[in-house]
């Protein structure tokens, strides 16, 4: 039988691939793409718990809908910023932190 654990293992896999993508990213856009993957893993987890074990399945699904909207807003703003910045210099490559020290 497929259980919530199956879905969590799948989501963990997606999340970790996304995390690796973030750690390994060479440009801001790649970070955004990898973060999208991580957020999708979160949604998968929540939907799976909602229809397997959650006490209030409908409320978890409603939250996932909200999360999707929020992620879209966040990504929209992120992409606008990246585009705006790239028009002025090459700093969409993360390497561009020349003037700011870590």
């Amino acid at each position: 039988m497929i259980t919530a654990a199956h879905y969590t293992v799948l989501a963990s896999g997606l999340f970790c691939i996304g995390l690796f993508g973030v750690l390994n990213a060479r440009s801001a856009l790649r970070v955004v793409v990898a973060v999208e993957l991580m957020l999708n893993a979160v949604n998968l987890n929540l939907v799976a718990y909602a229809v397997t074990s959650g006490a209030r399945p409908a409320s978890a699904l409603a939250f996932v809908l909200l999360l999707i909207v929020i992620a879209a807003a966040e990504v929209g703003l992120a992409l606008a910023l990246v585009v705006a910045l790239s028009r002025r210099s090459d700093i969409t490559a993360i390497d561009g932190y020349a003037t700011l020290k870590g």
Binding site: A4, T8, A11, F15, G18, V22, A28, V31, V32, V35, M38, L39, A41, V42, N45, L46, A48, Y49, S53, G54, A55, R56, S59, A60, F63, L66, L67, I70, A73, E74, L77, A78, L81, V82, A84, L85, R88, S89, I91, T92, I94, G96, Y97, T99, L100, K101, G102
Partner: protein, 481 residues
């Protein structure tokens, strides 16, 4: 069941702040502009401050101790405490932006609207009793800040700061949400009290514990503590000074608002003293050691902020009523002192365009009020007697000792002494210098914010009892309720 009218009545403070933001945006369209001149921008600031004051009044009048919408939101002493603190921060930030915001961005109305909406988000974080609500509200505290950092024009440092902040927000948000989903899966609920009850019998499943660790990353980012503190120095240095002031106070307090509520609800259930204590020591030490070698005043204040987050975590680690009340007191003290320090920095950068510690030399003769205010703020952050910061450190350190965490108190005291070195070095620079420098002028509004802040530092330092009582009542009501 709650009707719409009831919801509007209870959430009036937050609603007023949100609507004021919208009003400012609309007013911007109708206010007249002349060639290169925009006399309406002062009115926009005045409208924003009026809205915040109205929200403060509403926070006093709103019915206390109400739980809304199936217990996902709670309006109580804690939320009122933070309402007033965040409104005060909002007013101070607008007050110190009004003379300079048009110099670093053409988007004045949008600037005020975003500050107001971010303030509303901060206030809402203090209401959330469910993790789902919390996740949504936390977004409202960071998304406007991304835009605020991004609106500085033609400044490569500000651009890089915005990009760095954006990436850290994206990553920390996904870590937080991942942790949230695991906690939800492990306990079947998003309610903080429910999670605490699941943990109470010592039965918090390993999955839930793993989730809490991931969520910690999201909190650490908000409060700039280890392990998510690394972004602060770059962003604080690169951002427009007024935005840095907002970021260093508002965002950090929002993070602690949720920590305090979550902990107050799970105080008997979770034993987090060791974990939080370790984070506290790491933050204090890293922050103080980092601050010692900084020459830029904004970078120095960023490291100082990391260390301050560590001191506050000492109170959190105590995980007792005394500890949490001390944390609330410390938060208010930190907000006043740090906002005051940044007011002077903003004023100084506006007047001179310089932001190195050495540039401040002899400020006492070049502008006595600014020097006095900065000295007061730094001595409060350092925790010298007669300031509010002293009382704050005293209460927090005592609470850790009271909970038997003597090692933590000792580490905190050592760190506080270490921190004297860099705080007092600046005070020395301000007052002891033979070099001749030009007079530094400042605007009346900056002077007003400085006077109010300096009075706050001294008066609350001398009479801490009312504030401490308020904090204590908020925490006990939360734990009993």
């Amino acid at each position: 069941m709650n009707g719409t009218g009831h919801i509007v009545e209870v959430l009036a403070p937050q609603l007023i702040v949100v609507l004021t933001g919208a009003l400012v945006l609309v007013a911007d369209l109708v206010l007249p502009r002349r060639e290169g001149e925009y006399p309406g921008r002062t009115w926009l600031a005045a409208a924003s401050v009026t809205g915040l004051i109205a929200a403060g009044v509403a926070a006093f009048m709103a019915p206390a101790n109400t739980s809304l919408l199936g217990g996902t939101l709670a309006v109580d002493g804690l939320s009122r405490f933070f309402d007033l603190v965040f409104i005060g921060i909002g007013i101070a930030v607008i007050g110190l932006s009004v003379d300079s915001v048009h110099r670093f961005t053409p988007w004045v109305a949008e600037y005020y609207a975003l500050v107001l909406w971010c303030t509303a988000g901060n206030m809402m974080v203090a209401l959330a009793t469910g993790l789902f609500s919390l996740a949504v509200f936390l977004q409202l505290t960071s998304l406007p800040l991304i835009a605020l950092l991004g609106l500085a024009k033609n400044d490569p440092r500000a651009r890089e700061a915005a990009l760095k902040y954006l990436l850290v927000v994206l990553v920390s948000t996904s870590l937080l949400l991942w942790g949230l989903s695991l906690v939800f899966g492990a306990t079947g609920t998003d309610d903080m009290r429910g999670i605490a009850m699941a943990a109470a019998g010592g039965t918090l499943p390993a999955l839930g514990a793993a989730g809490l660790v991931f969520m910690l990353a999201g909190f650490a980012f908000k409060v700039t503590s280890v392990p998510f503190q690394f972004w602060a120095p770059d962003v604080y240095e690169g951002a427009p000074p007024a935005v840095t002031a907002f970021l260093s106070v508002g965002s950090k307090l929002a993070g602690f608002a949720l920590v305090v509520r979550f902990l107050a609800l799970s105080i008997d259930a979770l034993d987090i003293s060791l974990a939080v204590g370790a984070l506290a020591v790491a933050s204090m030490t890293l922050g103080n050691l980092g601050a010692l070698k900084q020459h830029n005043i904004r970078r120095l204040l960023a490291y100082s902020g990391i260390a301050q987050a560590g001191y506050i975590l000492v109170g959190v680690a105590a995980s007792s009523v005394t500890g949490l009340s001390a944390v609330l007191f410390y938060l208010a003290a930190y907000a006043i002192a740090n906002a005051l320090a940044f007011t002077v920095v903003v004023s100084f950068v506006d007047a001179t365009g310089l932001d190195e510690v050495g540039d401040l030399s002899g400020l006492a003769r070049r502008n006595p009020l600014a020097a006095f205010a900065l000295a007061g703020a730094l001595m409060s952050l350092a925790g010298l007697p007669l300031t509010v910061g002293f009382m704050a450190k005293f209460y927090v350190f005592m609470s850790a000792a009271e909970s038997g965490l003597y090692w933590l108190t000792l580490a905190a005291v050592i760190n506080a002494v270490l921190a004297f070195a860099y705080y007092l070095r600046i005070v020395w620079t301000l007052y002891v210098s033979d070099e001749e420098h030009a007079h530094v002028s400042m605007t009346r509004r900056h002077a007003l914010v400085m006077v109010v802040g300096a009075l706050g530092v001294v008066v609350i330092g001398l009479f801490p009892a009312p504030l401490l009582d308020a904090a204590h009542r908020a925490v006990t009501a939360l734990i009993a309720g």
